[in-house]
């Protein structure tokens, strides 16, 4: 079990800067997700950790060894590809034995270990099949067994579940988590699926245009996004812009809202995020909970989805906001209804950037 430390890594493809001074530590035994849109550099970072690519600048350490210049075949890593990349001319067992034999294990011993790994991914009895005769989920399990059987220092997964349908993907998420916990491997998981990242990870790192813009525990990032991009990419968010005035924020429409965190100096322009599920819709005139923000608005759309409702509302300054409401009483507010948006000051998240 080894931590992976990335320090000041930069990579350029032609004229594009794919990774821009990236530093992050993937903690030992933890599962870290690299989350970002396509083109954010997450796969490139993973390939640099693996050793498929030597970075132009910066260093990669696995445990206490600097492996920056070490090629992938000397690094003892496990890599699971998006396409699984099983060897089609070998049986399932031979696929899993491949890494063991390359590292000098006898065929007999490798066969035994590979069999045990197939048991671990719950594919006993498939040893002699060819990969082509397996379903996508089964191929994924073989790829996982092949990657972990060599007891790598770090397990790297490149969008391994993206080719599976939704139901199978959820099943494999559970399986992946179980295997990761059982093996205790330091794991780095690349995904563009935010729900997957939240559900699986001990830690999440969000990438945008070659930079890590925030990393931390899933709940920490979700509850306290630091930038507009992080807030919008991980979950839904409403953004409000205003000016600091007497320890509160004066919005464009004149309403004053409060935040629990410290605000910059008087007169500064700030952008805050409020998650749609943190907002309660009250009728105008209802008593609000002491100290809560209240923002009068108008409903302009309601989407009914059974257990929950999604409202589109407009604030006095014309800002469109989204509100998730539990379906308590089967009552749906009609478009044009006047409402008051209420949320505790602690749910007003001050963002670092001003936004567009």
């Amino acid at each position: 079990m080894s931590a992976v430390a990335i320090d000041g890594v930069a990579q350029r493809f032609g004229a594009t800067l794919v990774l821009d001074d990236v530093s992050i530590v993937f903690e030992a035994g933890k599962l870290t997700s690299l989350l970002g849109p396509s083109g954010s550099g997450k796969t490139t970072l993973l390939r640099i950790v693996a050793g498929f690519l030597a970075p132009e600048a910066g260093s990669v350490r696995i445990g206490d060894k600097d492996v920056t210049m070490e090629p992938v075949w000397r690094r003892r890593i496990g890599f699971v590809f998006q396409s699984y990349a099983l060897f089609p001319h070998m049986s399932v067992l031979e696929n899993v034995m491949y890494g063991l034999e390359r590292r000098g294990m006898s065929r007999r011993a490798a066969g035994g270990k590979a069999g045990a790994a197939l048991d671990m991914v719950r594919l006993p009895g498939f040893a002699d099949r060819k990969p082509a005769s397996l379903s996508g989920g089964q191929q994924q399990r073989v790829a996982l067994a092949r990657a972990i059987v060599t007891k790598p220092t770090v397990l790297l997964l490149d969008e391994p579940l993206s080719a599976l349908d939704r139901r199978l993907r959820q099943e494999m998420q559970v399986e992946l988590l179980r295997i990761q916990r059982e093996s205790g491997l330091t794991t780095v998981f690349v995904t563009h699926d935010q729900e997957e990242a939240l559900a699986l990870s001990d830690r999440v790192a969000i990438l945008d245009r070659g930079r890590i813009i925030q990393s931390g525990a899933p709940a920490e990032i979700y509850e306290h996004p630091r930038t507009r991009f992080a807030a919008a990419f991980l979950g839904d968010a409403n953004f409000l812009t205003g000016t600091v005035e007497g320890g509160a924020i004066r919005l464009g429409g004149g309403a004053l809202i409060r935040a629990a965190s410290a605000l910059p100096g008087e007169g500064a322009r700030v952008t805050v995020a409020v998650r749609p599920e943190k907002i309660v819709l009250a009728s105008p005139g209802d008593a609000t909970v002491g100290g809560a923000n209240s923002l009068p608005s108008t409903v302009n759309a309601a989407i009914y989805s059974g257990a929950a409702l999604t409202y589109g509302v407009t604030t006095p300054d014309g800002t469109a906001m989204k509100v998730f409401a539990q379906n308590f009483d089967g009552r749906i507010l009609a478009a044009g209804a006047r409402v008051t948006l209420c949320w505790p000051p602690a749910q007003t998240v001050l963002l670092d950037d001003e936004g567009p």
Partner: protein
Amino acid sequence: MGALGRIWLFLVLVFLYLPIVIMALMAFNASPFYALPMTFTTKWFVDLSGNAKLIAAGRNSVLIALVTAIVATAIGTMAALALHRRQFRGRTLLRVLLLPPIAIPWLIIGTAMLVFFYWTGIGRGLHAMILGHVALALPYVVLVVGAGVDSLRPDLEDAAMSLGSSPSDAFFRITMPLLAPSIIAAALFAFAVSLDQFVVSYFLAMPGVSTLPVEIYSAIRKGFTPEINAISTILLVASMVIVLGFARLSRIGAGR
């Protein structure tokens, strides 16, 4: 398939095979003038075994075809890997330039080679024919192996390297076995292109050093003998065995 379809297929096969079958039959006919009814004989094969010129030409043909198959397949496979796997300047241009030689008439290629080989001092003879045949076969090899390379997932070698294989080890354990059917098919193609070749060989042959097609052509000009049917029949059986053997082999390779 309907009855009409069957009849159509039958007619196509008759059209393809009838002349060949008649030639093969006449190799065993005692009459040198194709006279019927047929009287079975192996006389022409016996005569053939005494015809040193035809036998030498046959040996040359097979030798040239073998060397061509080996050399063109080795060079062509490397070229296909580079053209289909690596990124470099001018790659698209090179890939496109591979195609025209297939369409250029052999007569023109033959003339060009004769002039070029004369001018550079390479001259004519066995070595010149091998050079010429390799050049003719190369585009086919690159096309066939290139299609095979395209059908392989590029991340298979990555997977092998992540499991401890060096790049060359990954190539020989993963890419080569998966490419083997394409490479064998390309080698057979190159062999056939060379064995078939008449025009270019005719230009590059020297008196005393020629190939079977060239020798058959000059023999026919001097006067037709059924010995030619006999040697053609031997060639026919040999190539059928190779092709059918390959078809069987590739089925074993593809299935489980």
